[in-house]
């Protein structure tokens, strides 16, 4: 899908309570960190989250995936 104005994908994580598990709850397309925060907050407001954070998908380091959205992050010539 084409992204406008230099948008990229941000993964959204949140935990319900202090000490609770930080869970992946979705993702947003945003042109920068500031708007990624706003979009995540308005799109995933179904809970009174104790903590929410966003991570650019490009910053996620693949461990065992060789296909799917993270496949492109493998170094050139890496095992597919």
């Amino acid at each position: 899908m084409k992204r406008a104005m230099g948008e990229e994908i941000y993964e959204v994580f949140a935990r319900r309570r202090r000490g609770g598990t930080l869970r992946h709850i979705g993702c947003v397309d945003a042109p920068g960190e500031e708007l990624a925060r706003v979009y995540a907050w308005s799109a995933y407001d179904e809970e009174n989250w104790f903590e929410m954070c966003v991570v650019p998908r490009r910053a996620v380091i693949p461990v065992n995936r060789s296909e799917g959205p993270w496949g492109d992050n493998l170094p050139a010539g890496g095992r597919r």
Binding site: M5, E34, L35, V38, Y39, W41, S42, A43, D45
Partner: protein, 254 residues
């Protein structure tokens, strides 16, 4: 309500409530048709915030001797105290972004001023509104930066939209009249100089990205109506029908 002349405090509450109600309507026009799904969701969230805040503000009028239901649901357009920048719909996305930065930004400053004064209901209820407004500020600053940095038509349109809203919004934010002086003297609002200083600090920093010097912009007080605390004109009839809930009138429940 329609025949009573509101006190300085009631006038301040009314102008905040009406401006939030109209801003919510203008935001809601962009829930569909905004640049992305995420911006549409944010527009929806901000529209609902504004309506929730306006209801809380209207409810504060009860203590001032008004019937909040009557105030919310019966007034004609020319009895609205809202900021003139919201009289018409946002024509394009640049208008929307300018509205978030200029009008919503000014509203937050006016709310902060009221919450810092001697009106107990404002002191207890407004801080939560201001916490929610932080996301509106971030949205506005983020999008203003995107359009400005994009250059070309995007940058010139958003600058034009801001410049068209600023003079009337500054007049709305900084009333130069007796009821406002009375409000300040009563300890219910900050003096204009302090409000202007915060506006220059907060909005001015965002707007400087497009070369707009807020300190150089003069408020446009042409046709100032001290009762409605605003300049000439009134919101469009279609928006007021929605604000009053005319089409739901048979369904109202208390």
């Amino acid at each position: 309500m329609t025949d009573a002349r509101p006190s300085a405090l009631s006038r301040q509450i009314l102008t905040l409530a009406d401006t939030k109600r109209l801003l919510g309507i203008r935001y809601s026009d962009w829930i569909l048709g905004s640049p992305s799904i995420e911006t549409g969701i944010a527009a929806s969230s901000m529209a609902q915030d504004e309506w929730g805040h306006s209801r809380l503000l209207y409810a504060m009028l009860k203590e001032q001797g008004f019937d909040p239901f009557e105030v919310e649901h019966t007034r004609p357009a020319d009895r609205y105290y809202s900021s003139p920048a919201l009289d018409g719909p946002f024509g394009d996305w640049a208008d929307f972004v300018a509205g978030v930065v200029v009008v919503d930004g000014a509203l937050s400053i006016a709310l902060e001023s009221l919450a810092d004064g001697g009106f107990a209901l404002a002191r207890s209820r407004i801080p939560k509104m201001l916490a929610e407004e932080r996301y509106h500020d971030r949205f506005g600053a983020g999008w203003f930066g995107c359009l400005t940095d994009a250059g070309g038509e995007a940058a010139s349109r958003v600058e034009e939209a801001v410049r068209s809203m600023l003079p009337s919004t500054l007049a709305w934010l900084l009333p130069d009249d007796e009821p406002y002086d009375e409000l300040v003297d009563g300890g219910f609002a900050w003096p204009s100089g302090r409000v202007r200083g915060l506006a220059t600090d907060r909005l001015g920093t965002v707007l400087a990205r497009s070369g707009i010097a807020l300190a150089d912009v003069e408020p446009d007080r042409a046709g100032w109506d001290p009762e409605r605390r605003r300049g000439l004109g009134a919101p469009g009839e279609e928006a007021i029908e929605r604000a009053r809930g005319d089409r739901n009138r048979d369904l109202f429940v208390e």
